[in-house]
């Protein structure tokens, strides 16, 4: 007798039949009926009509029947909330049952019923169960808190369940500890800054103890939690590593990988000369290798992670090349990953083996795999110089097979090899030319054309070859057309006599017959170059090309470090930071590897490691967002006196402002002083040094008029602007121009297919300019740049096109200044000075966001009449006033005022009271908002006090 009989009744009257059976007096019949109901439910039939009848069966001593009814309830309670209330009493009663299994079952099921009314009744039983004498009930209750949090987070916080849950981390039973950790981790994911898992050496110790005794799944939770901890020093780090290493021998691969994560992270802190460091490295290899003998799905995830580990610490697996050899019946996704790792591990020592393997793979059936194998040969040639010759001959062998796609791939990689080793392997060109006709893919055709053009002087019939391509010019893809145009121009420059006709033909095809703007522009440029100055044309077109770099697909180091902290997660599978894709992870914390002890950079305190900003765009100052909350509180407080608790950060901000500039003053070095008094500093040293204009503290001091709520968020941004001004770049006492921050990275090359953009903002002669440096880190030429801004708070918009006239060749950097207007469309941004930019080139469109200093918007006519100033100053309510200090400025008031004037902060009046200079200043923003400030300068005391008021004038 099997359950399949429950599926046999599919007639129409089924529901009625079941109803009758459910209400039967006989226990056995009831149970059979419930089973039938469950069976229908599992296959997706709607049996919700039976709700009251099934719930009636709940009051029973039979555990199986009870479980089945619970199963049913969980499925349908949501659709019948009123009916579900009927079940509440039984639940509450069951939570008092002497049998712990029933208590646990009741609390567990209640948590799964996602009906608000029921959750209210759940609180009391849950509180009891969290303190139950039986650990089985406690561990079930721990998970229930996570469930409840998912339904009603506020309720969980109000009822204090989170604290109870935290207490459970110290429970005597390891299973309870593991579940508490799991529940807290899940809750913490939706509260990134809640600091729920407050890890300290005591809790860590408890977790490590529980680690040895809990189930395999519990071990995963605990290890993942441990990975978030930052040890105080290398000794603590080592002792944790020692206690985690046994997990490497666990049969469950997820436990192994989580342990690897902890070790990889904590290893960072160990000094490299330590014996233990070497031991640990050795211990890591075998478990990673073992993961590769598991099921293919596990292998895949393991391989993705090994890919990261190999990039971070190639020494771990350098002798294990062979385990990555591909077996013909591996699934394709495993094959491709293995190939990737083989190339990463390729070195002079093992290159012969690797090449033999790759050649073998190139004869396999799977086209994708074969292509990748051929490419891999090329990458080996580029990576291991000694092997280049061997690789080239292998590629030639493969070309001889005449297998179409193999030949095409081979030609594409040979082009790269030519780029890496110029004037070395050109003898093979003849062989390549033989296969000209078989090339039907754009990439291969383009590569071949590039080769012909580049080496036109050595190919006797280069003109014929290129001419043959030219016949079908219109049918070619853009890539091939562009390449053909360039190649023919190269040919012409090398052999001008015979090819005049050809070049004219291609130029007219490109400029007159083509609709493609890229092609047309390039055509025109060549045309003009050739017609005006052939010598210059030669210099431009035949310029020596920079060598291509060894490995083009390495993960950018900071991202790699972050991914190492996320080993074993989805992020590691996709090789993207979690913030980039995980839904529901509001403001994922950026994890960083801990700093090695004794290295130049002092180890960051744990808080620093955890407190990265959410979604930081490239040029954001990390602490700004964090402090914003405090600042606003300050602003809203009725009294404007400085609140002591904010003091440290304010001081810090002020020091930052003066950091860069003062350093350049002869004989003045405040570096050391500036570093010292910052217990709660969120800045790392690097950040301090640079343009920390956006000092949040300054913003703190800005009053926000109640009438202008929008201006609230203005505070830190304006502070940023002022901060920059104080970064006194020039000589003392001279009226200097607008302060220009050093360029910061806006768009890393990794995110933009090789285009790297850094830049800054400046105000020159009343015109706002965005200075950009565009660097091409890809292997191909970039052209056709254009720029556009999203709507932003002050209506900034480009006042002209992006002036990039020449194509950007690989490794070249171009500096451009883009004039900006303030008449673009306005939309309030968060933060206020955020600017979203789109840059287009021939490859793609890229987006980034950056922040401009507010001082950019201080207009030249910001000098207020004295009378007006006085009147306005009085009118501004006290609430709008804020105050802060700038420390360690060794300037007298005149010098400071001079400097500020350079940035359009005008001193209206100066007054001297009790050896203090009071400067009254005004600033006007492009959108007509006025800011008034009072600056107190005490002679001999390097601290400034600034009171600021603000108001808006329409």
């Amino acid at each position: 007798m099997t359950d399949s009989k429950y599926f046999t009744t599919t007639k129409k009257g089924e529901i009625f039949e079941l109803k009758a059976e459910l209400n039967s007096d006989k226990k056995e019949k009831k149970k059979e009926a419930v089973k039938k109901v469950i069976a229908s439910m599992t296959v997706g039939k709607d049996v919700s009509a039976l709700f009251p009848d099934v719930v009636n069966c709940m009051q029973t001593d039979n555990l199986e029947l009870k479980k089945l009814v619970y199963l049913y309830l969980m499925n349908y309670a949501k659709s019948q909330p009123d009916m579900a209330i009927m079940a509440v009493n039984t639940f509450v009663k069951d939570c008092e049952d002497p049998n712990p299994l029933i208590r646990a079952l009741a609390v567990r099921t209640m948590g799964c019923i996602r009906v608000d009314k029921i959750t209210e009744y759940l609180c009391e039983p849950l509180r009891k169960c969290l303190k139950d004498e039986d650990p089985y009930v406690r561990k079930t209750a721990a998970v229930c808190v996570a469930k409840l949090h998912d339904i009603n987070a506020q309720l969980v916080e109000d009822q204090g369940f989170l604290d109870t849950l935290k207490d459970l981390i110290s429970d005597s039973n390891p299973m309870v500890v593991a579940n508490a950790v799991a529940a807290l981790s899940e809750i913490a994911e939706s509260h990134p800054n809640s600091n729920l898992l407050d890890l300290n050496p005591q809790t860590i110790n408890k977790l490590l103890t529980a680690l040895n005794e809990c189930t395999e799944w519990g071990q995963i939770f605990i290890l993942d939690c441990l990975a978030n901890y930052t040890p105080r020093d290398d000794r603590e780090s080592q002792s944790i590593c020692e206690r985690v290493t046994p997990r490497l021998s666990h049969a469950n691969s997820a436990v192994v990988l989580s342990a690897v994560k902890v070790l990889m992270k904590f290893m960072e802190m160990l000094p490299k000369d330590l014996d233990y460091y070497g031991t640990l490295l050795k211990k890591l290899a075998p478990p990673l290798v073992t993961l590769l003998s598991a099921e293919p799905e596990l292998q895949y995830v393991a391989l993705r992670n090994i890919n990261l580990i190999v990039q971070k610490r190639p020494e771990i697996l350098k002798h294990e090349m062979k385990v990555f050899f591909v077996k013909y019946n591996d699934p394709i996704y495993v094959k491709l990953e293995k190939l990737d790792i083989m190339i990463r591990l390729a070195s002079q020592a093992n290159i012969a083996q690797v090449l033999a393997e790759l050649k073998e793979y190139a004869t396999e059936v799977d086209v994708d795999f074969v292509r990748k194998a051929v490419r891999a040969i090329g990458r080996c040639a580029i990576k291991v110089e000694q092997s280049a010759e061997r690789c080239v001959s292998t590629l030639l062998d493969l070309i001889q097979t005449k297998v179409n796609y193999v030949v095409q791939e081979a030609i594409v990689v040979i082009k790269d090899i030519f780029r890496k080793y110029p004037n070395k392997y050109e003898s093979v060109i003849a062989t390549l030319c033989e296969n000209l006709d078989s090339l039907d893919e754009p990439e291969a055709r383009a590569a071949m054309i590039w080769i012909v053009g580049e080496y036109a002087e050595r190919i006797d019939n280069a003109d014929e070859l290129l001419e043959s391509f030219l016949e079908g010019f219109h049918d070619e893809s853009t890539q091939v057309q562009l390449q053909l145009l360039t190649a023919i121009v190269k040919l012409f420059l090398k052999k001008p006599t015979e090819t005049q006709e050809l070049v004219q033909q291609v130029l007219s095809l490109a400029t007159q017959d083509s609709d493609n703007p890229d092609l047309r522009d390039r055509g025109y440029i060549y045309w003009r170059l050739l017609s005006t100055d052939p010598v210059a044309a030669k210099e431009v077109v035949l310029a020596e090309k920079p060598l291509i770099s060894e490995e083009t697909d390495l993960i950018e180091p900071t991202l790699l470090d972050e991914l190492i902290c996320h080993i074993g997660t989805l992020a590691s599978v996709y090789h993207k930071p979690p913030s980039a894709f995980v839904e529901g992870s509001r403001g994922v914390q950026h994890k960083r590897l801990p700093a090695r002890a004794g290295s130049g950079e002092s180890a960051e305190s744990p808080e620093v490691g955890q407190s990265g900003t959410s979604e930081a765009p490239p040029a954001v100052i990390p602490s700004q967002g964090d402090l914003l909350g405090d600042l606003l509180n300050l602003d809203l407080a009725p009294a404007t006196t400085t609140v002591p608790s904010v003091q440290p950060s304010m001081q810090m901000g002020a020091m930052d402002l003066l950091g860069g500039g003062l350093d350049s003053l002869p004989g003045v070095s405040h570096r050391t002083e500036m570093q010292s008094p910052q217990p709660s500093s969120d800045y790392s040293e690097r950040e301090l040094g640079g343009d920390i204009g956006g000092s949040p503290s300054m913003g703190a001091a800005l009053g926000a008029p109640a009438a202008m709520p929008a201006a609230l968020s203005n505070a830190p941004a304006v502070g940023g602007g002022l901060g920059d001004l104080f970064d006194l770049g020039g000589g003392v006492g001279m009226p200097t121009g607008f302060y220009v921050a050093p360029k910061t990275l806006f768009l890393p090359a990794m995110k933009a297919k090789g285009l790297e953009i850094s830049g800054t903002f400046a105000r020159r002669g009343g015109i706002i300019q965005m200075d950009l440096s565009l660097t091409n880190k890809a292997m191909s030429v970039m052209t056709d740049f254009a720029i556009q801004f999203n709507r932003n708070s002050f209506g900034l918009a480009p006042a002209g096109p992006l002036q990039v006239l020449t194509p950007l060749t690989p490794n070249q950097t171009i500096d451009v200044s883009l004039p900006l207007g303030t008449t673009g469309p306005v939309m309030k941004m968060e933060p206020l000075n955020n600017l979203q930019v789109a840059v287009k080139n021939n490859i793609d469109v890229f987006y980034f966001s950056c922040q401009y200093p507010l001082s950019l918007l201080f207009v030249e006519d910001g000098k207020m009449e004295r009378q007006v100033f006085l009147a306005t100053w009085k009118d501004i309510p006290n609430d709008n006033e804020a105050q802060f200090q700038i420390k360690d400025v060794h300037l007298n008031s005149d010098a400071a005022s001079n400097k500020l004037q350079g940035s359009n902060i005008f001193t209206i009046a100066k007054r001297t009271v009790d050896a203090q200079d009071m400067l009254y200043q005004s600033i006007k923003l492009t959108n007509g908002i006025w800011v008034l400030a009072e600056m107190r300068v005490q002679t001999g005391n390097p601290n400034y006090t600034v009171n600021r008021n603000k108001e808006s004038c329409q």
């Binding site: 007798m1 099997t2 359950d3 399949s4 429950y6 599926f7 226990k27 056995e28 069976a39 599992t42 296959v43 555990l63 199986e64 479980k67 199963l71 949501k78 049998n99 948590g111 799964c112 996602r114 039986d134 650990p135 089985y136 998970v143 469930k147 299973m175 799991a182 529940a183 899940e186 994911e189 005794e213 189930t215 395999e216 993942d224 021998s249 049969a251 469950n252 997820a254 989580s258 075998p286 073992t290 003998s293 099921e295 799905e297 596990l298 895949y300 995830v301 294990e320 385990v323 050899f325 077996k327 013909y328 019946n329 004869t363 059936v365 989805l570 992020a571 599978v573 839904e583 529901g584």
Partner: protein, 421 residues
Amino acid sequence: MIHSLFLINNVGDLFLEKHWKSVISRSVCDYFFEAREKAGEPDNVPPVIRTPHHYLINIYRDKIFFVSVIQTEVPPLFVIEFLHRVAETFQDYFGECSETTIKENMVIVYELLEEMLDNGFPLATESNILKELIRPPNILRTMVNTITGSSNVGETLPTGQLSTIPWRRAGVKYTNNEAYFDVVEEIDAILDKSGTTVFAEIQGVIDACVKLSGMPDLTLSFMNPRLLDDVSFHPCVRYKRWESERVISFIPPDGNFQLMSYHISAQNLVAIPVYVKQNISFFESGSSGRLDITVSPKQTMGKVVECVVVTIHMPKVVLSASLNATQGTYKYDPLTKILVWDIGKLNPQNTQKQPNLKGSLSLQSGAPKPEENPSLNIDLKIQQLAISGLKVNRLDMYGEKYKPFKGVKYVTKAGKFQVRT
């Protein structure tokens, strides 16, 4: 954590769904079907599939796709391990894990899934505990249940759930106390055309069947524990003692379990028990090819190599094979293009007449010569030998008074053993 599970058979029918949190519509599986379509072979479906709102992590076992849906950042290995555990539990409960058996036992399946995960957190995955909570079906029990009206759900809290040895229940009693260990080694190897080893390693496991009363504490020691440098243990094994004394000390679970697995890597010399000489060639003209394979024993440590089977995936253009085998039988399936030569035993004495398979292959006329060379897959078995040379020294029992019956068996098999041509 794990949100939902869908079971899909290999023709694409969704036949079971289970949600541990809120219900997620089946339509999420469309992304899976899309990936499935793209992959061609069911084996090639990528294990992690990204959809706009969820991630689908799937495994393919016994012709069933286990597709789990997750919504937050969860370690994928954790999910994959869990899915395999589900498949193993079905296998354990119903003898096989197939669509038919799952459908036949739908209610138990549902109860099991409910017991294995709570809100996406694993709850009870140890087979011992599960069996106490939900009794596996068998004919006798079904009969008893029908007559007495009792159920197959345990009424009491499983004893192992909370002790520090969750894998063992208390109060085990046997009339015959016995402990058997099987040392099973599989050779994974790739040999190249000339017979040289490109890569070879040994994957070993020690499977145990322990039926001992009470709370026995066992210690297993090896003659040559140094062979083992890369091991994974069942959670019951005390790792500290392995590290310090190189003995395996443990309180065993009741019944069948895998005590440990180990891996002897390519650096150590791995003995290759057979030698394969092969020549497969296709002619440019005449739509034909030749095949000539000889298999002979190599390093067998004096043992007989049994159950030798050679499997070849022929290129698509091979229509039929007309061959002659001096030993065993061969079969060519023109549909799947698989040639199987079942040789049987290799006789170590008769070195003159080694098994040979020879003859011609006929290709589709007019088709070009196949580009790829087929690889040979070898299956074999050697009884009474662990090819790595691993030997169990002794098994001691503490904590109980009775004298158990002990036994150790060795067997070597071919794992992924491939010969390239």
